[in-house]
Amino acid sequence: MEKTLSIKHLLGTKDLTLQDVELIFSQADEFKEVLSRPIKKVPSLRDITIANIFFENSTRTRLSFELAQKRLSADIVNFAAASSSVKKGETLVDTVNNILAMKVDMVVMRHASPGAAQFLSQHINAAIVNAGDGTHEHPTQALLDAYSIREKLGTVKGKKVAIVGDITHSRVALSNIHLLKTLGAEVMLCGPTTLIPKHIESLGVKVEHNLRNALEWCDVANMLRIQLERQDVDVRYFPSLREYSLQYGLDKQLLDSLSKKIVIMHPGPINRGVEITSDVADSDQSIILQQVENGVAIRMAVIYLLAQNIETRKGM
């Protein structure tokens, strides 16, 4: 059986088949080994140039992508919207086409508009990796989350995962739902009614508004951040952060009172004391730092596999 990715771009986890995910995970296993070596680098992508285009702020994702690319020996160019011609009124396609004219093979893009990566993939001749498009998808985050669950619990299939917090404004939540369903996990969303999209049950997930019930049900709890920057300023989704924290924040007392030991995840950045307290984030049940570590291996795997589908430039 020939193993290849079914996709040319990674726009969202919705497009991934089970075979794709298994292939990405198997390669991530090998890249984790590479990352444990004295020389944490392989020469595979010597002839590939990647542009990291970030129209939105990011620390962890951008660093993680950059490290992944460097450890694959790719050449990289970085572009932050704040310091660019976007401010002068240039369109997205023009901006990216200008970068591509400098012979770039792959684009990693984060953008505030949902569907930006999809749009770009239809207009640009390069492999696109979506590093987050508004409230839509953040596929590599979901992949590293699922990979971390697999690493911690042995498998994702049949596990119960609760995603807690601001589901409406979270791209991490949507990507996680699609991927976890593909991998055969059960998913429950938990948060105040105002922060859970209507009809989300149609994706095959459970909805629960009581945090304790959700935690008692699950094997893994993914605690999302409240995305204040994405919330409409005129709309109050909850009375105050303090009240949200009292209802949906996870502290050590609640964690210890559960009937079993659950795994705690967080996509970062953490608002300590809001969605989880410090002692939970730093407890032995938390795999938050492993998630960050696995992020580099997962992104190496995604880039490595996608790069192989890029046509070689003839005559060069």
Partner: protein
């Protein structure tokens, strides 16, 4: 399609025993030597060699690792098929060690070149030797030659050497297939 048996199971046992004794002659008690099998098929020969060495010299500590050359190949994006990496396990430092690299068939030499590059990431070995079961002479595209050879053969490019092992469910043998 025709096929010729190059090595049958009886000869295979003799060949592996001979290769082991050649190793012992050069490496004594293996205190400074490590054996590295090449993924994917070279590790099957390497495991057989290591098992036999341990049987012959039970007091020696034979260190064994495996390496996957995929990330170092020179045909990335050129072969038209996806290059899928397999596990690499080298749980020791190669700095100053004498390495015996083992693969089943030596053909163009390109896989061995990739494997050598991968090895160097684990430290600077004192020396590297190459052991192969089948040496397809006169087919080399790079200046790479084996130190220990099971059997040398002359073959055409349209022929294929298949190495089969008991561990795969068949018997130990090597055949040359022509189409």
């Amino acid at each position: 399609m025709s096929q010729i048996t190059l090595i049958d199971s009886k000869l295979m046992s003799l060949v592996i025993t001979r290769l082991c004794h050649q190793l012992i002659e050069n490496h004594d008690d293996f205190s400074e030597t490590v054996i590295i099998g090449m993924q994917p098929r070279g590790i099957l020969l390497a495991e057989n060699v290591v098992d036999k060495l341990r049987a012959i010299q039970p007091k020696s500590n034979i260190r064994y690792g495996i390496i996957d050359p995929t990330f170092y190949r020179d045909d990335f994006r050129q072969s038209g098929k996806q290059l899928i990496a397999r596990p690499t396990e080298i749980p020791f430092n190669l700095e100053g060690q004498r390495v015996v690299l083992i693969d089943d068939v030596l053909y163009t030499g390109r896989t061995v070149r990739a494997g050598l590059e991968g090895l160097m990431e684990y430290g600077r070995p004192k020396s590297v030797e190459l052991m192969v079961l089948i040496d397809r002479r006169f087919s080399r595209q790079l200046p790479i030659e084996p130190t220990y050879i099971g059997k040398s053969i002359d073959s055409y490019d349209n022929q294929e050497v298949r190495v089969m092992w008991k561990k795969d469910g068949g018997e130990d043998k090597v055949i040359l297939v022509s189409d």
